[in-house]
Amino acid sequence: MDCVATGGNVKVLAKAIHSLSRIGEELYLEPVEDGLALRSVNSSRSAFACFLLSPLFFQRYQTPSDQSFRCKMPIKSVQAVFKSLSSLDRSVEKCRIQLNSEKSRLTITLHCKHGLLKTHNLSFQDCESLQAVFDKESCANVLQAQPRLMVDTVLHFPPSLEEVNLSVSSDRVWLRNHVEDDADPSRAMMTELCLSSEEFDHFAVSTQTSITFCLKELRGLLVFAESSGLPISMYFDEPGSPVILSVADSVLEANFVLATLSEDSHPKNHVKSNTKHPDAEQPPDDFMNDDMDSFLIAMETSELPGPSHVPTSPPHPTNNRKHSVSEDEQEEALTEGPPNKKFCSLFFGSVLPTPSQLTNQTIQSQEVLASDSEDENQTETS
């Protein structure tokens, strides 16, 4: 494998890596025909990010002869190579990534001004392919905005805020902080930001919905998008389906996939008018179970004959959540009692969604909450 990035793209590569470091501890690297894929996943499997740098991103792009080369390494060691972004700008002319198969080392060489060469030999581990299954095209709702809008929006929430709730109607978007279960709900400060659809470059909402996801992991993407000036697209569906945020230009594509909290009960039971917005039809508020398990994204490996890890999804008791977060109306309309919280996991396929690499998957007898990549549509069978 031999890839060379030059000029400003070295900084872009560095920023991508820093961005991924906000997600997980390890960097998964996989050079494929379509480009160099850099991926990361968080420990609870609720956030996944992938940067695909196309061959055009590089001055030279040569995939390894062994077509299925994949590796992972601690992301901190890669970050150390691209430590100071400003000095990268000033002094690095070229960055070369090579695979040294005999020594099992990934060699990253920075060619700097005045003939200075900085060579880093990073050890790596072989690993399974890391690929979350998601399908942007099937998402009911698509928003696109300039990064400045997203950054300004997020500014209203404290940096420590973990989870945020996004609700959409036909012409409005609401972003609210999501209050942790164990915090006293009557003491927490609630913040809500309401944006008009006009502020978005693209606003296609076919299903009014409300999703909750982790904001922290998103900040890496926001930083990347803001510095690159690329608009951010957001694809989402109903609660439980992952939300996908992506930026793309002609030579790179970044996708951040975050699991969203799900709920079991039929949304119809929750539809009530929100006293705060009598004019707009308020999408149903999710009754949240904040157990982090509910954010699980399942992982699957290619080495094993079938999905290696399908988490069971026991109903979570909800007797700790009898009141809604911000509305003051009752929930008594639910005749079946408090909703069962069940997490929906985002299924990780072992294959990239390209026909050439499809493998047959055996359907498990266990409950599959999200389909595998065979039928490129994400359907929930719960």
Binding site: L193, E199, D328
Partner: protein, 284 residues
């Protein structure tokens, strides 16, 4: 009980925010007293807070464009709320460029102060950010705990040295000792002293000037006959003094302190629209 207010002037908003920031640096929880003419942030001295108390008074008309209040009852036309000023501070922080900020008393899961800011946006429709800050309504029978503090019968009243200087002196002294003695006389002289086993440090300030308390103040009768050279002093917890000097964003036009010998240090910041009083009890 009803309360609605609106700020539309950016300068007023900034100023109000700075006052709230100052209060939030001094205490985690305080009482917000609302009357038709004033807002007060009150902290009544308790053992839990180390005995410090605070009284911050704002004249409502200098900040709000609209202000409507309906108190607990016709004869008690006031509202007392217990609030965490830090929440207010946070809510105001990102609203500094708002076209308008509305504050009102609402009831969500619990009584709240709802702050709604209309922000400039890229489209014709403004962005609206709403913060619901939970508050506790204080019942009328407890109102007497939060009365305006009496002006203490002080021995010496003196203007403070430039706050920046005073703060940097106190900051450095804090590294050496937990307690600081502040003494001053009617000759415009003030000393800040610390004393440990190893070292004692005194910083002398001169020509500070003494406020002329006339009939409106209540200096003790003996003060006017007091020997101008005689120092009145109190020993206070240095962290409390530092906290007061560090957090302040009021930028007072007048800053002074009153010393009740060996009893209380009473700090006063005066500004056109706002006054802030802070009482630090003496420690032995």
């Amino acid at each position: 009980m009803k309360f609605r207010a609106k700020i539309i002037d950016v300068g007023c908003l900034n100023h109000f925010t700075r006052v709230v920031n100052t209060v939030s640096k001094l205490t985690k929880a305080c009482v917000l007293r609302l009357t038709c003419d004033h807002l007060y942030f009150v902290l009544s001295g308790k053992v839990a807070t180390g005995g410090v108390s605070m009284w911050c008074e704002l004249s409502q008309v200098n900040f709000f464009d609209e202000f409507q209040l309906e108190g607990v009852s016709a004869d008690a036309n006031e509202i007392f709320l217990e609030v965490a000023p830090e929440n207010l501070s946070r809510a105001l922080k990102t609203a500094q460029n708002a076209k308008s900020v509305k504050i009102k008393l609402t009831k969500k899961n619990c009584p709240c102060l709802t702050l709604a800011a209309e922000l400039p946006s890229l489209s014709s429709v403004s962005r609206v950010v709403t913060h619901d800050i939970p508050v506790d309504v204080i019942p009328r029978r407890l109102w007497h705990d939060f009365r305006e503090p009496q002006m203490p019968d002080f021995d010496v009243s003196i203007y403070l040295p430039p706050l920046k200087t005073m703060k940097s002196v106190v900051d450095r002294m804090k590294n050496l000792s937990n307690y600081l003695v502040i003494e001053a006389n009617l000759n415009g002289e003030m000393n800040l002293k610390i004393e440990t086993d190893l070292v004692s440090v005194t910083t002398h300030f001169k020509e500070l000037g003494n406020p002329p308390w006339g009939d409106d103040g209540s200096p003790s009768a003996s003060a006017s006959h007091r020997d101008t050279e005689l120092m009145a002093q109190t020993r206070v917890d240095i962290r409390k003094l530092q906290q007061f000097l560090t957090g302040q964003q009021v930028n007072p036009s007048r800053a002074m302190c009153n010393i009740v010998h060996k009893r209380i240090l009473h700090l006063i910041f005066l500004h056109e629209d706002v006054s802030l009083q802070y009482f630090i009890p003496a420690v032995m």
